[in-house]
């Protein structure tokens, strides 16, 4: 439900190499001339929750798809070449 909650879980002080850049959207090729700091126009929590639900449901469907063998075969091959080196 609450996809903002994860923010609190972040104890990751491990890679604080954040170059803050300039806060601008460097690759906004498709986004047109929208300003980068429009995050104050937030959606109501309810709408955010609904979108989050849909998103996770759809994403979850891909996550639960059966995996083609090619991936485990690839990983096996990589591990094998490693050993024979």
């Amino acid at each position: 439900m609450n996809d903002e909650g994860n923010e609190a879980d972040n104890t990751a002080g491990r890679q604080k190499l954040m170059d803050q850049k300039d806060g601008k959207d460097v690759q906004a090729g498709t986004a047109g001339a929208m300003p980068a700091d429009d995050s104050h126009v937030a959606l109501p929590k309810e709408a955010q929750g609904r979108i989050g639900q849909h998103l996770r449901r759809i994403y979850g469907e891909i996550l639960s798809e059966p995996l083609p063998d090619k991936f485990s075969q690839l990983l096996d091959n990589l591990a094998k070449t490693e050993r024979s080196e």
Partner: protein, 186 residues
């Protein structure tokens, strides 16, 4: 040189993350076959550069970063054609949604596919994968505020589009009309 047992562990951990890599890849390039190619390429690169992975840090974030960089450089070489702002190259999950009759999810997937790539990835990383904004920012090489802004823009846009497609089901009034005026090409 890396120990054999470490290599075996890494192999297992990579295997466990393949579904996530596939899902993320598909949200980026919108085509299931290309997405799987992208995942395979990512696995090979990750394996070969595993010495550079900092033990104890987030493997998924590392893999996602490799996948994303690979995607962007391939796209630059035009190997992947992703001009999916027309929604044709939707996240292919919509196919499954159609089969199972989840029309609201189909609409959602179509709307999602019309978002700019940087908004899609921001929303997936934060909203679906649950990465912290800070981590998503590191992965995308931009400021935290930029990620927040992209996530928010994506949500607002989706909310507008879905409100337009399903009149009467939401409390968002005719604000959705401004989508069309914004959708300038070029």
């Amino acid at each position: 040189m890396i120990e054999t047992s470490d290599a075996t562990n890494l192999q297992k951990e990579l295997a466990q993350l393949v579904p996530n890599l596939r899902a993320f890849a598909r949200s980026l390039c919108g085509n299931a076959d290309q997405a799987d190619d992208l995942v395979q390429e990512t696995l090979v690169k990750a394996w070969r550069s595993r010495e550079s992975f900092a033990e104890g840090s987030n493997l998924k974030a590392w893999l996602f970063t490799i996948l994303r960089n690979t995607f962007l450089s391939e796209r630059r070489k035009r190997k992947f054609e992703v001009h999916d702002t027309d929604g044709k190259l939707a996240m292919q999950l919509s196919v499954k949604g159609e089969q199972s009759g989840h029309m609201d999810l189909v609409d959602f997937a179509k709307a999602f596919a019309t978002l700019p790539q940087e908004q899609r990835e921001a929303l997936i990383l934060v909203g679906a994968e649950g990465f912290a904004y800070e981590d998503a920012a590191l992965m995308c090489g931009c400021a935290v505020g930029t990620i927040k802004s992209r996530v928010n823009r994506a949500r607002v846009k989706l909310s507008e589009m879905l409100a337009v497609d399903e009149p009467g089901t939401t409390d968002v009034d005719d604000d959705g009309a401004e989508i069309d005026s914004r959708a300038t090409v070029g």
